[in-house]
């Protein structure tokens, strides 16, 4: 699979953004298929079997969240949604409906490629099913199978819930996770509204892993959406 050009399906109705996405992705040697409506996009997704979908939430014919749901009925391919600033709630809904990540317009090439890279990597890891990964970034090392967390080689003691939270983040490193997703994973279903638990634990985790909760470098907040553990 590595030597095959990965295919990206771009579902976007605005020509300038379409062009920007096509040029950028082709420059990174992706094969690009374009669709300008939700219906069209769904059809292409079924026939062309892309490796990744970039989906604008503001399509003329269909709600992007609806497109996400319809795709998720039959495929697990990564979906990166694109939406405007101030539409945090829409992003959260799309992410909870199964989208993998998001970009806020206007965005730069760096961000776009980082999202694509992470999404494809998670897809590959899921296909290979490599078991618990070892996560390393900025001096932090997390060995999930041994339940070991170290910073610059020094062991860090985490409470069970803190470790559980870190585990979910590590398994999804680089990817955004909504409050709801994290609450469900760590505290179980039925706790989706208790965001203050999550926030307090995140704060504690930052204090332990990053020293200062007001200057995070790894455990990032995605305002109004959730969290992301940076993977580099």
């Amino acid at each position: 699979m590595a030597d095959l050009k990965p295919t990206v399906l771009v579902i976007e109705d605005e020509p300038p953004l379409q062009r920007f996405l096509r040029v950028t992705l082709e420059a990174q040697s992706f094969k690009v298929i374009e669709a300008t409506s939700g219906e069209n996009g769904l059809r292409h997704a079924a026939t062309a079997q892309p490796d990744l979908v970039v989906l604008d939430l503001g399509l003329p014919d269909m709600d992007g969240v609806e497109v996400t749901r319809r795709l998720r009925e039959w495929t697990a391919i990564p979906i990166i949604i694109v939406s405007a600033r101030g539409k945090e709630q829409d992003k959260v809904v799309a992410l909870d409906a199964g989208a993998d990540d998001y970009l806020t317009k206007p965005f730069g090439v760096g961000e776009l490629l980082a999202r694509v890279r992470v999404a494809l990597r998670h897809l590959a890891a899921a296909n290979r099913d490599t078991g618990d990964p070892i996560f390393e970034a900025r001096g932090l090392r997390v060995d999930l199978s041994r339940r070991e967390v170290t910073i610059d080689g020094n062991a860090v003691h985490l409470t069970p819930n803190e470790f559980k939270l870190l585990t979910v983040l590590v398994k999804n490193a680089g990817k955004v996770l909504t409050h709801r997703q994290l609450l469900k994973e760590v505290w179980g279903p039925g706790s989706a509204e208790e965001t203050h638990y999550l926030r307090v634990y995140m704060n504690q985790l930052r204090q332990k892993l990053e020293g200062d909760a007001t200057r995070p470098q790894l455990l990032l907040t995605e305002p109004g959406v959730g969290y992301r553990l940076l993977d580099q």
């Binding site: 819930n161 638990y197 926030r199 930052r206 200062d212 995070p216 990032l220």
Partner: protein, 380 residues
């Protein structure tokens, strides 16, 4: 805009002018009290006593309703007749001339009060006309100001892009990347401008949706500082948020925006060598949390402490950074939507302080239950 307090609304004929009637009684009583010794001891003539009453009528006519003026005229004639016309203390109009006195008094009261009313009406009209002119002027200057502010970065983008398209072969690598930097930088500036305009519109139309959730303030500060990393460069920045700060109930996106705008200003209006501080404390006996953004730059011009929060107000600005004057107005809108207050001042040792508060009307939700393994240290 004009201060509504300068022109108290008056509707002299609508409601019964109770205050005016009371004043009428008072004025007549005062005139009588004053005239009494003058008439009996000093030997004033009856006509002069009448003049005293007339002064009362004039005053009421200019300051109160027409009906109050009529009442004053009636009361004056009655009082005069009773007290200063023989036979004293009887209401007997012995002379026809007192009817004339009464008529003159009444006419004076009515004419004066009608005149006063007309003058007031005219000044009200003039005021409204002035306000219309003012609003129109404001709208025009705002629109032309905003279009100017948008056109400046747009011109730079168009210029740089067309240079690249047409002269690419003659441009050095350095010149090319300079053009590209211009395009990128100016697009960012335009984005900020448009975002500010949209936010301001949202604040003003009351379309601000505040989605409050309990959270540690550290998270909001951290998220803002991470986004500002590139702009901060190597600047010194200190955060001082005590670990025992209670959770606050806020919309993190909006309060993040407030912090962002304040820090953006602190970066823009101070030299790169200066230090910025973010400090949070419980204040008002625990009824609120106060957040300060402090710098040691030139500070805001004296006397502009309130005006800086008005939209489109900008004071001294460095050449390279031309704001549009919306940042602080948006801050105020957001903070007030949270039930808090925002203010600005200068430090005695130099530099500006911006402080906003978040009310703590409810106590934070407990963290002690099955979801918690232990009681966190800051929850006592």
């Amino acid at each position: 805009m004009s201060d509504p307090r300068a022109h108290p609304p008056r509707s002299p004929l609508r409601r019964p002018d109770i205050a005016g009637y009371l004043w009428a009684v008072g004025v007549v009583a005062a005139a009588t009290t004053l005239a009494w010794p003058l008439y009996h001891a000093v030997g004033f003539h009856g006509e002069n006593v009448l003049m005293l009453y007339l002064v009362g009528v004039l005053w009421i006519a200019t300051h109160h309703s027409r009906s109050a003026a009529v009442l004053t005229s009636v009361l004056s004639v009655v009082a005069y007749d009773l007290i200063f016309v023989k036979p004293f203390y009887t209401f007997a109009v012995s002379d026809q001339q007192y009817l004339i006195t009464f008529g003159v008094m009444l006419a004076t009261g009515l004419v004066i009060s009608a005149l006063t009313h007309r003058v007031r009406e005219h000044s009200e009209e003039a005021r409204q006309a002035w306000e219309r002119v003012e609003a129109e002027f404001l709208r025009n200057t705002l629109l032309s100001g905003v279009s100017h502010d948008l056109r400046t970065p747009l011109s730079a983008i168009t210029g740089a892009a067309s240079t690249l398209i047409e002269n690419r072969d003659h441009l050095s690598d350095a010149a090319q990347s300079e053009m590209l930097d211009t395009i990128y930088g100016e697009s960012e500036r335009m984005e900020r401008l448009i975002n500010n305009l949209l936010d301001m519109t949202r604040v003003e139309s009351g379309g601000l949706q505040v989605k409050k959730e309990w959270q540690p303030l550290q998270e909001v500060v951290g998220s803002v500082l991470h986004r500002l990393e590139r702009r901060l460069g190597g600047r010194k920045l200190k955060t001082d948020l005590p670990p025992d700060l209670p959770l606050v109930q806020i919309d993190s996106v909006l309060i993040g925006q407030v912090l962002m705008n304040l820090l953006d200003n602190a970066i823009a209006y101070t030299p790169p060598t200066s230090t910025i501080q973010i400090r949070a404390r419980q204040a008002g006996d625990g009824r609120e949390v106060a957040i300060d953004v402090i710098d040691d730059g030139p500070g805001i011009p004296a006397g502009t402490e309130t005006r800086v929060f008005q939209k489109f107000f900008r004071a001294a600005q460095p050449e390279k950074r031309q704001g549009i004057g919306l940042g602080l107005a948006i801050c105020r809108g957001i903070v007030e939507a949270h039930g808090g207050t925002i203010g600005a001042g200068n430090r005695p040792e130099g530099g500006a302080v911006f402080r906003f508060t978040i009310p703590m009307t409810q106590s934070p939700p407990p963290m002690i239950d099955a979801m918690t393994e232990r009681e966190p240290a800051w929850q006592t």
